[in-house]
Amino acid sequence: MRAADEAPSLSRRSALATICVAATHALGCSADSKPAPEPDSFTPGAFLARESQPGTFQLFRTLIVLRMENGKSVMFMIEYSGTFPSLDVARERAQDPSLHVRAPVITYLDEAFLNVPVQVVWFRTLTEEEEDAYR
């Protein structure tokens, strides 16, 4: 008897839940609005603008970062041709898929690479061809 009494209630709850899910889906009012993750220097695919000389930037792209037992890291990177007069220009050029590659893979110790100002200016997921360079 009790189960029978509860059944409609559960049914109603189920219907309400369905409506809520539908409305949420349609209107996009979900709880997934946490801030989007930002790439950092160690994120595979991140474009890094490194100040090679004062006021001049060079573009690199992180392929993979290997952490060693001594706490240091080795950064496998793509090195791109050219230098850019500002971060904005570097960011704009990083978005160009035809950007010329000077070296498909080079390695740096993190502390050596990051001892000058470096900023993440863009991100693009790595293709298999790009990843093959360090495999």
């Binding site: 889906h25 349609a26 209107l27 996009g28 009012c29 979900s30 997934d32 609005s33 989007a36 993750p37 930002e38 790439p39 994120t43 595979p44 695919g45 991140a46 978005q95 898929p97 863009w122 991100f123 693009r124 997921t125 790595l126 293709t127 298999e128 061809e129 790009e130 990843e131």
Partner: protein, 409 residues
């Protein structure tokens, strides 16, 4: 009907051409016995033509209608006889007879309470004839009573005055109606000039509204009918988008040509079937996806807001509900941000990029809408309408606009 005809015919009596009869009743029916086989008598000008008949009790008559035609006129007029016990009487008004000489033709039809004709005497092709003769050609003693009165002194329908004209003749089927008349939906004979069968040719298009939140994720593309392509290089997107609460996206749907048939069921309501073919605007089919079916089928019920729209020309508004089978490809563009924390199976996805999104919605739909139809003639109309189409189970809301031409038979 014919078996009862034999009972009715001997009881039909009509007309008077004697002075004695004229003295008996001055304006109302004055009756003499008429031979069953004699269907022609004589009357003077400007006098009413009285008609009286007696029916057997077992004949369940509810209305007795006299259909008459004045000489020189092509139109048949109907008047209803009054009941006086077992007798029914009335008169073709003298103002109708007027001074027109020649034959006045009439016949009688008897209806039951449902409007069905249960007996008749005479017919349109073999009517009773009353010869209207000018006084100068008649015998001096051939008086028919009083001349035509002032209508205001004796309005139709009052006792002793001519019967009222019948505007509507009740019926149950077309066979109960005479001439070109047919039995209308209201149970009365009418000259039906409505076109009940309509064919239409329309062109429809519109905008589709689809959910846009996370629609380019791989699960969404695999299970919800979405396909996303990178604008940069046209590659099918297989990345990891960040959900960013993009609620809705709007895009166009294919142009669709529609052929339809609509049957008028009642004054204001119709039932229609429509078949469509979508072109110019269907999207690509992603690998493993369901191919686009350009054909659509629809069943539609329409209600017109005018009282009798198909009997009149001009503009008429209408509303409809419909449902059926159909696919709607909705094309739109969305902006996605790549989730940098997840390794994707696809390279080359920028941090921020625009994707061309196709939603293949269908295969069922239900719609509600309204429009206006302009009747250019009784058999030609143009129409324009707007509708909201709910597509399921691969959902979309389509706001559709349609223009069409229609021809009726």
């Amino acid at each position: 009907m014919k078996s009862r005809l034999g009972m009715v015919l001997p009881l039909i009596t009509a007309l008077a051409s004697t002075a004695a009869a004229a003295e008996r009743v001055s304006l109302g029916p004055s009756v003499i016995q008429l031979s069953t086989f004699e269907k022609k008598v004589e009357r003077g000008i400007l006098t009413p033509v009285p008609i009286e008949l007696e029916l057997p009790g077992e004949l369940q008559a509810a209305r007795v209608l006299v259909h008459y035609r004045i000489h020189g006129s092509n139109a048949w007029t109907t008047l209803e006889l009054r009941r006086r016990g077992s007798k029914w009487d009335g008169a073709i008004p003298c103002l109708e007879v007027s001074t027109i000489t020649g034959d006045v033709r009439f016949y009688v039809r008897i209806h039951d309470v449902r409007g069905e004709v249960i007996a008749f005497s005479g017919s349109r092709h073999d009517p009773y004839r009353v010869a209207i003769v000018h006084d100068s050609l008649r015998a001096p003693d051939a008086a028919d009573g009083a001349r035509c009165p002032d209508p205001s002194d004796c309005p139709p329908g009052l006792p002793g005055c001519p019967s009222e004209k019948v505007e509507k003749v009740p019926c149950r089927s077309d066979s109960d109606c005479e001439g070109e008349m047919s039995c209308g939906w209201d149970g009365f004979c009418e000259l039906d000039q409505r076109r009940k069968h309509w064919f239409e040719l329309s062109v429809a298009s519109g905008l589709g509204v689809i959910g846009a939140n996370g629609v380019c994720s791989i699960p969404s593309q695999e299970e919800s009918g979405y396909a996303c392509y990178r604008e940069r290089d046209g590659e099918l997107y297989k990345g990891n988008p960040v959900y960013r609460n993009e609620a809705l996206a709007v895009g166009r749907v294919p142009l669709r040509i529609v052929l339809g048939y609509e049957h008028l069921l009642h004054y204001q309501n119709s039932l229609g079937v429509r078949a469509g073919y979508a072109f110019l605007g269907s999207g690509p089919t992603s690998p493993g996806g369901t191919a686009f079916v350009p054909y659509s089928a629809e069943l539609r019920v329409t209600h017109y807001f005018a009282e009798d729209p198909f009997a009149e020309l001009g503009l008429t508004g209408y509303a409809f509900v419909s449902g059926g089978y159909g696919m709607y490809d909705v094309k739109t563009r969305i902006h996605v941000r790549e989730n940098t924390e997840r390794r994707g199976a696809q390279g080359g996805n920028d941090l921020e990029q625009r994707l061309e999104v196709w939603k293949r919605a269908g295969d069922g739909f239900a719609a509600i809408g309204g429009g206006a139809r302009w009747f250019l003639s009784r058999g030609t109309a143009v129409s324009g309408e707007l509708s909201a189409v709910g597509v399921f189970p691969f959902s979309a809301l389509v706001l559709s606009a349609e223009l069409g031409v229609r021809t009726g038979f």
